[in-house]
Assembly symmetry: C2
Homo-oligomer: 212 residues x 2
DNA sequence: TAGCTTCTACACCGATCGGTGTAGTTTAGC
DNA sequence: GCTAAACTACACCGATCGGTGTAGAAGCTA
């Protein structure tokens, strides 16, 4: 609700609260996560939380915003690192996919559990928070990815009508259904095989030389 | 937990309870959904629920099983209806996709909200229930779809190494990210365009004549 | 040292919820 | 029409939780 916060309280306490809240919201969901447990996790008094946030809902929204921005910037970094200078498109895309999927098992993993919670609780999450996540999260990274794909297409290695749609397809084919089922992500070989298959499915659909 | 139920109570009451519970579990999630509210939704006394189910968790598991079986059989029907006799592969796949996506907005829609809840609450759902859903739900339909794709491949219209993986890709490309974001699904033209793009991406990746 | 803000510990309120007990009413099957 | 099972209404318990009040400790600034 309140757009601009006036930085009440100690910044390090605030960070600890947000970090602890992310962990518990991600694991337990909005309703199940108790504020006392969050306070304990953050090594902070229950009362201090209300010194930084007006509400449980307010805290939730802050957690969404913080985590989304952090993850989105990581994703954009990966896009930049792998898809700016492209030598062998297929192997570069596979490397890109490996890095992309690696985020799901990194220390940023709780974020994606949080996203599942948001998707489940859509009816109870304030619409403003939902919209904020969609824009600065998946929409932003998809746009960034689409830009790179368009540039590669202009070089002649890809052919597509709608870069945004193609970017969405690539993201789907790379992450497969692992967003819904984050197990099996620890088998390196299986993960790589899955990514390779996804990239090949993507490429042979968009590569110009095999487009009919 | 208890595998075999001894059909305690009136069957129509049981059905009403399961139906009401599905609606509320889907909308509110396991924790938020109150048993009193479920009882009211089902037009049944609070106490009657405990005559049919031992627990809230027991009821939840029954709801998962019931809804999953119903939806899976619908999906298999759609596969059978559209992919048994294939004339024009691309247009048949598009029709198939339209029917497939139509389920998401049908009266079976609450099921997918329930699935989002399950995916979010994975840490708190009994593993047996999770496994049961995965097997009789997505794994089953994917296997069924893979069978059809293999048959089409044997006829020479498709080429693929791993039919199961291909089936997964097709399911992803057809439903795009609408499983996570079920809005926008009411714009007929946009939906059809999305499905068409997905099918074309799939086809040009697996069609033999354009495989390098 | 003085003064201000922040944090902590703790007790507390009101509401919600899962689950039970009970007494009485309805319904199904013989 | 009788009996037993099933259902209803209602009161109730114990636990959890969001949020507040308060009094004092800790830390920063001058």
């Amino acid at each position: 609700m309140t757009g601009a916060r006036k930085a009440a309280g100690q910044p390090d306490k605030r960070r600890a609260i947000v970090a602890g809240a992310l962990k518990l919201f991600a694991r337990d969901g909005y309703t199940r996560a108790a504020l006392d447990a969050i306070a304990a996790e953050a090594g902070v008094s229950n009362r201090t939380i209300y010194n930084h946030f007006t509400d449980k809902a307010d805290l939730f929204q802050a957690v969404i915003q913080d985590s989304t921005e952090r993850v989105a910037s990581t994703m954009v970094d990966i896009i930049d690192r792998h898809l700016t200078k492209v030598a062998d498109l297929e192997s570069d895309l596979i490397d890109f996919g490996v890095a992309w999927l690696g985020v799901l098992t990194s220390d940023l993993a709780p974020h994606f559990a949080l996203i599942r919670q948001i998707n489940a609780e859509q009816e109870h999450v304030p619409p403003a928070a939902l919209q904020l996540w969609r824009r600065t999260g998946p929409q932003h990274t998809r746009h960034e990815l689409a830009q790179r794909l368009r540039r590669i297409a202009e070089r002649g290695d890809l052919a597509m009508d709608d870069p945004a749609r193609a970017a969405g397809h690539l993201m789907l084919l790379i992450s497969a259904d692992n967003l819904a089922d984050p197990r099996d992500l620890h088998d390196q070989r299986e993960t790589r095989a899955m990514i390779t298959a996804g990239v090949q499915a993507f490429l042979h659909g968009y590569a110009r030389q095999i487009r009919r």
